[in-house]
Each structure stands twice: as structure tokens, then as C-alpha cells.
Amino acid sequence: MFKKLFGSLTGDNKQENQNYEPVQTSNDNHEDNYENDYQEVEYDPETLHGTHYTVEDFDAEVAERAEAWIADERASGENLEEKDIQNIYFNYRRAVYTEWNNCDSDQMIRFEHANSLKYSGIQTSGFVKVDDNNPFLEPVHGVDLRTYTAMCLKISAGIDYLEVCKAMGFEPAIWEELNTIWPQRMGEDTSFTVTTLFGQYYAENVTVPQLENLKAEISEEGAANLERIKTDRYFYEELAGARQAAYEYGIDGAQWILENFGINLADFQSVAMQWMTEQNQNWNSEDIITFSDYQQEKQKEYAAKFAAEQGGNIADDVNF
């Protein structure tokens, strides 16, 4: 599907073949992988621009082509809105990047992720860029976002918030303020810096010294399963599919995972964020499709089990 969407942009079928490389999961292998494939182009690790041109040249080229198009449209009486102009720039950015680097759509998307704040004003998980003076990141009652996230992780892992407050050394009223203001900032911040950073900390399962001794109960089996979803993407996809199937049969998926696999919601979501960040950083459409197909397949398997427990689906007797 992705190939259909983006394939036409690359205009080079030979390049497409590298999508069929064997599945790579670890970061390091990936780096090696595309560096080998693109020996002719070296990328700046920060901006993912090719090093054979400057960013200024790139931006100028995009602007020149986009402005020419915009002038043309206007000359023919089109009424262009801000949204349209952004779209025109977006498309030319893709075209110029692909052309100048002779790259495939995956590399282009990695480039877009790495530059999303610059070009669209929106942060992308795995590429968060933080300005020191961002007022949205000022601590609230002396508690920074990282610490707030650590508290959230403990609470959604099942630890009583009163315990968490005690360990932090403040009264519950402070927590309630934090838990009002941080979510408010997430809503106010149109660049999504607060939200993506919260997600990133969540994925890292951050903790702070004050909370280190607070441990959610976890069974031996739960600990083993947790370790496994962190390292085995297929197992993670299986549980994600199962969880989704559970909801479709009136079962609370979070509780079901806890009861059957011993993994609490905080840990599960943390691992989900981890995989999402990894996926953003090493964008590979072939892998993405493989994993999403696998999750769907598993979801169907679990759905069949849940259906059987409820005497089948209501339309089971309808046949073609």
C-alpha cells in the first residue's frame, strides 16, 4: 500500500527493490543497511539531508519551485489558502529531496520525521527537538515533565497515588494540580512538544530517585512476558492484536492482559510507545506492513476464541 502511495514519487523501480531486504529490527543493523545501499549519498545524522548540498540550497530550491507554481495558480484565478500553500511546499520538498538524493520513499519519510518541527511545526516521536526556553516545559510547582511522567507511570502501574505523593514528599493537592496543568499544556501546545516528550519519557519508562523504591507488583511470569514484548516485536504485536480483539468482545483489554499475561497497562503502553518510536526512527514500509499484517492475523485468531466463548458471532450462519 505504501509503495503505491509513494512509489510514483521515486520514479525509480530499481530503488524500490531495497524494500525487500530481509527484515531488520535492531537500530544498528538498520543504519548499516541503508548506508550500504546508498553508498553514493551520505546523510547528515541530524537533518538527514544529503551532505553533497547545503540545507540553504535545498530550501531555496523548494521555495523557487513552489513559488513558481503558486504564481501560476494565482495567475489562473485560483484562490489559494494557507493550507494549499503548505501543501504545495510539502510536495516540492518531497520531490526535491527524492531527486537530489536519489532515494526511496522510506528514506524520504525518515527525512520528513527528522524535520517535522522545522517544516510543519509539529514534533515527531523519536525526533523531538527541545528549546531551552520553551514555556510549556517550565516545571509546575517545581515538578518537571520527566518527573510528572515518572509519577504517571507508577500510578497507571497500579500504585496508589497517595503512596506516590508521599514518596515525592508532597501532599496530594500538589499532585492534583500537576495532573491538571500538565495535561492542559499538552492541549495548548500546538507543536505537540509536551505530548511527544511525555510519550518519549513514557517509552523510556523513566523514573526518578524518589520513586525508585515504589515497585508495582509483578508476577514472575508477568516479568518474563514483559521482557519478551520488549525484545520480540512479534510477541508484542500478538498481545496488541489480542487486546484489540478482547475489546471487540466486551472485555476490558487492559484488565485481560493483566490477568492473562501479568503485564499492567503502564508497562504495556510504555512498550507500545517504544516500538512506535523505533518505527519512526527507522521507517521501513516493508517491516511496517509485515507487523501490521501479523497483528491483524493474531487479532483474528483471538477474536475466534472470544467468539467461541460467547457461542459464536451473530452472523456466523450467513453464508455466501
Binding site: 517550565e138 510547582h141 517545581g142 501532599e171 476490558d252
Partner: protein
């Protein structure tokens, strides 16, 4: 016959949903409450003019962070 299948499915679904444990446990509905916390160290009460963070008499730390302007709590609530 069709009716029966639909209804029995719904009944099972309802039963199952009702018998499940809620993630995070039951939610207790509570009434509004007023409380006060005396200093656990010296027993003194906490007075408005002394701020919220420290005991005015013995210096005990009620809250170990520096208060900023929040929803109801303001930075003036820091003890001096």
C-alpha cells in the same frame, strides 16, 4: 429462531461485562471532606500567613517543592 440467537448473544455479552473486574479497581464515590494537617514534628497548626510548604515553628517540610502559579495554589503560598 433468529431473534433467539441475537438475544442470547446480547445476554451473554451483558453477563460477561457485568462480571468483570474493572482495571484499577472499583471507584469509590466520596463526599466532600475538610481536613487539616498539624505539623507531625512539633504539633503546631499551619496558618495561612506562614505559607504551605514549611512549619512556621520548627521548619518541618510539608511540601518539598517550590510552588508556582497553579490552578488554586499560587507562588505566594510558599513559606518564607
Amino acid at each position: 429462531m433468529e431473534e433467539k440467537k441475537v438475544n442470547s448473544f446480547l445476554d451473554k455479552l451483558k453477563q460477561k461485562a457485568q462480571n468483570q473486574t474493572n482495571y484499577g479497581g472499583e471507584f469509590e464515590i466520596s463526599e466532600a471532606k475538610m481536613n487539616a494537617k498539624d505539623c507531625p514534628n512539633c504539633g503546631a497548626g499551619r496558618a495561612k500567613q506562614d505559607g504551605l510548604t514549611n512549619c512556621a515553628y520548627c521548619g518541618f517540610e510539608f511540601i518539598n517543592v517550590k510552588l508556582t502559579d497553579g490552578v488554586y495554589i499560587k507562588k505566594e503560598d510558599n513559606s518564607l
